[in-house]
């Protein structure tokens, strides 16, 4: 069974590394992980589920704001983008954060097409990230079930 665990751990490690390498995550995620301890064993999962709920809400808000015919309230969109930027920055969702930075500029420039395009990208990106992290959690679960411990991944 140890071999299985070791394999899972290796798989997990590689998976996490790939997430960093592909730019899905950054150091802040590591920070987040380090905050998880015995006192709050599901801290990362909790924060992330909160984050993705937030994403759904904010993307929905923005989509509605941008869907309006006539004048688009870029301020409102901007506020939502700012929220998303803060959240993604806090959890270390690097790609989403990067998109948000662009998005915010587009918002300030009142570039409608750019905003819509960016919103679509954000939508895709956070969903992708969600799927990836879901996989990660599944792997963690498997490791725990197999009797192993989730390894600390040193991304450096």
């Amino acid at each position: 069974m140890d071999a299985h665990v070791a394999q899972l751990q290796m798989q997990y490690r590689n998976y996490i590394l790939s997430l960093y390498q592909q730019g899905f995550l950054d150091d802040q995620f590591t920070e987040l992980k380090s905050l998880q301890d015995d006192g709050s064993p599901d801290f990362v999962a909790e924060v992330l589920s909160l984050f993705f709920d937030d994403c759904v809400k904010l993307v929905g808000n923005m989509a509605r704001a941008l869907d309006q015919t006539g004048t688009v309230d870029f301020c409102q969109v901007g506020a939502n983008v700012h929220q998303l930027k803060g959240s993604s920055s806090s959890v270390g969702a690097k790609r989403v954060k990067g998109l948000c930075i662009n998005f915010k500029e587009l918002c300030e420039a009142k570039n409608y097409e750019g905003c819509v395009r960016c919103l679509q990208q954000v939508d895709i990106e956070y969903k992708t990230l969600k799927a990836k992290l879901q996989d990660m959690f599944n792997l963690e679960k498997q490791i725990v079930q197999a009797g192993g411990i989730v390894p600390q991944v040193d991304i450096n």
Binding site: E31, L32, F43, V47, L50, G86, G92
Partner: protein, 918 residues
């Protein structure tokens, strides 16, 4: 003229009929036409086709043609052509003659036959054999033959042969025949004559030729007349034999001078004449035709450029007999060409300059970028480096063995050195790029001097006496950029200490009259007294000497002393270390403030650095005016002598550095305003002391640790002390006190802290004993951020309250006391910057009027208004998303004390909390 005669002689050789006989007889006066062009007008305008003025010259032409090689060959050609045509005509005539002669011969032959026939006929009777039948036959034959020959002219004799009638008839007919023959002969002769006549008329082609020749001549005349050229022929001695000149007006000017027979030099004077003469001579010598442009500068026709073509002329014996020359005026063209050349040259020069300029700009830009880069990099390096040093200093507080401690000390001192270097570079690039702005704040020179000396004494590791001596006339309160002045003083003092091993180091301050290098500022040393309560400010020049009894500086090293990265010698650099930037910065700062930094030194005796600076004198007697000036808090201190005392001394190893000055401003320094790096510095100041085994530092440590709050109670103004007593066990009193006092010094020293970490020692020490759980308010609208922060706080062992926006934050602050606020900058409803401003306004005014004005709910606030402190400054830390739009400057400007850049990490939070909570 000799040549004329020669020409005439030559004429003989050629067909003289083709050329006028009076070749040599024309007056030279008329032939010679040198014209002065009318002004600068277009040369073409002078072309006058109708005028026949130059006809006379052409008469000369034949002469020339006759005498020269070319001319004669041309003539020979013509002659040959003519001869050919003549030959042709002669041949034709001869052929005609031949025909005629033939005809005549035929005619004569005929006649002869006729005569013969006649003879035969006459003799016939005698010769005919009478009795021979055959004679008949023969006769018949003969007759037949005769018939054939003579044709119808055969004489028909009707009469019977050998009768009288017969003979008569025969004679008659013969006579007729003779007549006819004679007639024919006559006609032939006539014809011959006629032929001869027509032959004569065959001389017509010659005349045609002559006509052609005349036409060609006419054409040449026409061309010559209109051509804007000067043509001439000169002999071997370059004397004019012939000249054709397009410019007839010149004739008037040289009428009296006969150009023919003279040389250029004899005719003209001025620039170019000699050159043309030489050129002609050269051509003559080389025997090769060539062209040249020559600019004449003569009285005759002003400044003109001629394109001159000169060719040598040979006679028939291939001997050089002179030159032909042709000149065309090209002044305008040359001028245009020169203009073009000049334009082109200008263009090239401009282009070169442009490219040079672009290069310079490029270089400048590069330099600027490099400087900017340096500044940015320095800044970037400073943050992590302060982390490294800070951590190292924390490490030094833990249990370490001797070797570890030693290593750590090296590490810390190296780190400090790098930090110092980076700070220096930053300062320098700031000054150089003009970014550095001077601030005018009121300060007390005496205190500044004392403080600087104290600070120096605190870190002194040598047995040196530090002294400060301030002349009585130096105003108590002046206005200037105290930060920079302190920086200069500290730099100079630390420099002095570095190079002094025994004796003393000191600062001397005195008022001096306005120095010669500055003017326009009025001096009034008595301003303070005179102005009294009024606000009027006057200037005063204060000279500050920083002297030491150190190793001194050799004279040859003085010039480069203030240069960047330079030290008196490489040896010194090795021995004493340092960046070599300190003095450069000092000099730049002093100059930036309008002063002057000089140095005098004697090797082994010591050096004195002197800087002279102008200050404004502030009226200091009005206490009410100064009340909110935190720097004036000293006024309220129980020791009145502190502000006027003119002499301080810090002796080595005297137990306490406070022996003379009493409480020190520096004690009050708190780094609320300092940027992130400084807290680390503070921490290191706080914890570094145990590792710093010098007597002074020990003293500091002991004193602060031992006396706890007592010294501070004495030092601070009564209100603060009172407040403190009311603090009923909760920490805010402590906090508030540090805050209130810190503001004073931080205003002066926020920049300074970085370069002199030792100042913070006491502050850190005195805050150390805090044991209470601090109360923290997190103002943040993002749930996730809150969650993360919460988790971090938990790890650090803190709890906090949460406000979701600025209004909530104000409400919370109003209802409860906090030790620290972590404030998001960008929030809905009321952002962090505005909220902070309102909180600061509340702290100053004691009421929330500003907040109410800004639209924050009054009711909630009013109720508790009285129960809240109004004078203590609450540390507010900004949490900024990025440093670009939510810049640190903006945070500071709005009253925030520091900032943490997002995303917040455990490390950042820890550092921040450590700095502000104890």
């Amino acid at each position: 003229m000799e040549t004329d005669q020669q020409m005439e002689e030559m004429d003989v050789e050629v067909l003289s009929s083709m050329w006028p006989e009076d070749v040599g007889g024309t007056e030279p006066d008329n032939q010679f036409n040198v014209e002065k062009p009318a002004g600068d007008s277009d040369t073409l305008k002078e072309v006058d086709i109708a005028e026949k003025r130059t006809m006379a010259d052409l008469k000369r032409l034949p002469d020339l043609l006759n005498t020269t090689d070319q001319g004669s060959s041309q003539l020979t050609n013509l002659v040959k052509q003519w001869e050919y045509m003549q030959d042709h005509a002669v041949r034709l005539l001869r052929e005609e003659l031949k025909i005629l002669t033939k005809q005549r011969e035929e005619a004569e032959a005929k006649e002869l036959k006729i005569i013969e026939e006649h003879n035969f006929e006459t003799e016939e009777p005698e010769n005919v054999p009478v009795l021979d039948e055959s004679s008949d036959l023969f006769r018949r034959f003969k007759e037949k033959k005769r018939d054939k020959l003579v044709g119808r002219k055969r004489i028909e004799i009707d009469e019977e042969f050998d009768t009288v009638a017969y003979w008569k008839q025969k004679a008659l007919s013969l006579e007729k025949m003779l007549e006819a023959s004679t007639e024919r002969e006559r006609r032939l002769i006539e014809k011959l004559n006629e032929s001869l006549k027509t032959m004569e008329s065959h001389s017509a082609p010659v005349e045609e030729l002559t006509q052609n020749l005349k036409r060609a001549e006419g054409f040449l005349h026409f061309i010559l007349q209109n051509a804007p050229i000067v043509m001439g022929h000169q002999d071997k001695d370059l004397r004019y034999l012939f000249i054709y000149n397009k410019f007839p007006t010149l004739r008037e000017h040289v009428r009296d001078k006969d150009i023919l027979g003279k040389t250029d030099v004899e005719i003209f004077h001025g620039g170019g004449v000699k050159e043309s003469e030489d050129f002609k001579r050269e051509v003559l010598e080389k025997g090769k035709a060539s062209k040249r442009e020559i600019t004449f500068e003569t009285d005759l026709f002003g400044s003109k450029t001629f394109l001159i073509y000169v060719e040598p002329v040979y006679n028939k014996a291939r001997e050089k007999i002179g030159i032909n020359y042709m000149g065309m005026e090209v002044t305008d063209q040359v001028r245009k060409r020169e203009k073009m050349a000049k334009l082109r040259e200008d263009n090239a020069v401009r282009k070169a300059m442009e490219s040079e300029l672009t290069k310079t700009i490029h270089i400048t830009e590069e330099t600027m970028r490099a400087k900017q880069m340096l500044a940015t990099m320095s800044h970037e390096i400073r943050s992590p480096l302060s982390g490294v040093v800070g951590m190292a200093e924390i490490l030094s507080t833990t249990k370490l063995d001797k070797e570890q401690r030693q290593l750590l000390n090296v590490m810390i001192s190296s780190g400090d050195l790098v930090l110092q270097l980076i700070n220096d570079i930053l300062d320098l690039s700031k000054v150089e790029s003009g970014v550095m702005k001077l601030e005018a704040t009121k300060f007390r020179p005496r205190e500044v001097v004392k403080h600087v000396l104290q600070t120096a004494a605190a870190s002194l590791k040598k047995e040196l006496t530090l002294e400060g001596n301030i002349a009585d006339e130096v105003p108590i309160l002046v206005i200037g950029d105290v930060l920079r002045i302190r920086q200069i003083l500290t730099n100079l003092i630390s420099n002095a200490i570095k190079f002094t091993h025994q004796g003393k180091v000191g600062i001397k301050l005195k008022v001096i009259p306005e120095p010669s290098f500055a003017s326009g500022l009025e001096l009034n040393t008595d301003a303070e007294e005179q102005n009294g309560l009024t606000e009027t400010e006057t200037s005063v020049w204060i000279r500050c000497d920083v002297y030491d009894t150190g190793i001194g500086i050799p004279e040859n090293a003085l010039p480069c002393l203030f240069k960047k990265y330079m030290q008196a010698s490489a040896d010194h650099a090795r021995k004493y270390g340092g960046t070599g930037l300190g003095l450069a910065i000092c000099k730049q700062l002093v100059e930036l403030m309008g002063g002057q930094l000089t140095v005098t030194s004697q090797v082994n005796l010591g050096s004195t650095f002197t800087f002279i600076l102008p200050y404004k004198v502030a009226a200091s007697n009005d206490h009410s005016d100064d009340q909110d000036e935190f720097s004036d808090m000293v006024d309220h201190q129980p020791e009145p002598d502190d502000s006027t005392e003119g002499y301080f001394q810090f002796k080595p190893l005297l137990g306490s550095i406070y022996s003379n000055g009493g409480p020190v401003i520096g004690n009050n320094f708190l780094p609320h305003k300092a940027m992130l790096p400084s807290p680390v510095k503070l921490m290191n100041g706080f914890v570094a002391d145990p590792s710093d085994n010098t007597g002074q530092s020990e003293a500091v440590q002991v004193e602060n640790g031992g006396y706890k709050d007592e010294p501070r109670l004495e030092t601070h103004r009564p209100e603060t002390a009172h407040q403190y007593e009311n603090g009923n066990g909760r920490c805010p009193s402590k906090e508030s006190e540090s805050c209130s006092s810190s503001q004073a010094s931080s205003e002066m020293e926020s920049e300074f802290t970085v370069s002199s970490p030792r100042e913070d020692v006491q502050t850190e020490a005195e805050v150390k004993e805090t044991s209470k759980q601090p109360k923290i308010l997190l103002v943040e609208d993002n749930k996730i951020n809150i969650m993360v922060a919460k988790s971090m706080m938990k790890q650090l062992g803190y709890t906090f309250d949460i406000a979701n926006n600025g209004v909530e934050a104000i409400t919370a602050i109003n209802s409860s006391s906090y030790d620290l606020v972590l404030m998001d900058v960008c929030m809905p409803v009321l952002d962090g910057l505005k909220a902070t401003r309102l909180i600061r306004s509340y702290e100053e005014s004691g009421n929330w009027d500003a907040a109410v004005e800004a639209g924050v709910d009054i009711k909630v606030l009013e109720n508790k208004q009285m129960s809240v402190r109004s004078t203590n400054r609450l540390p507010i830390i900004a949490m900024t998303a990025n440093t670009l739009s939510e810049s640190s400057e903006e945070c500071y400007a709005n009253g925030m004390d520091s900032f943490i850049s997002k995303p917040v990490t455990l490390q950042k939070l820890k550092e921040c909390l450590k700095q502000y909570l104890h």
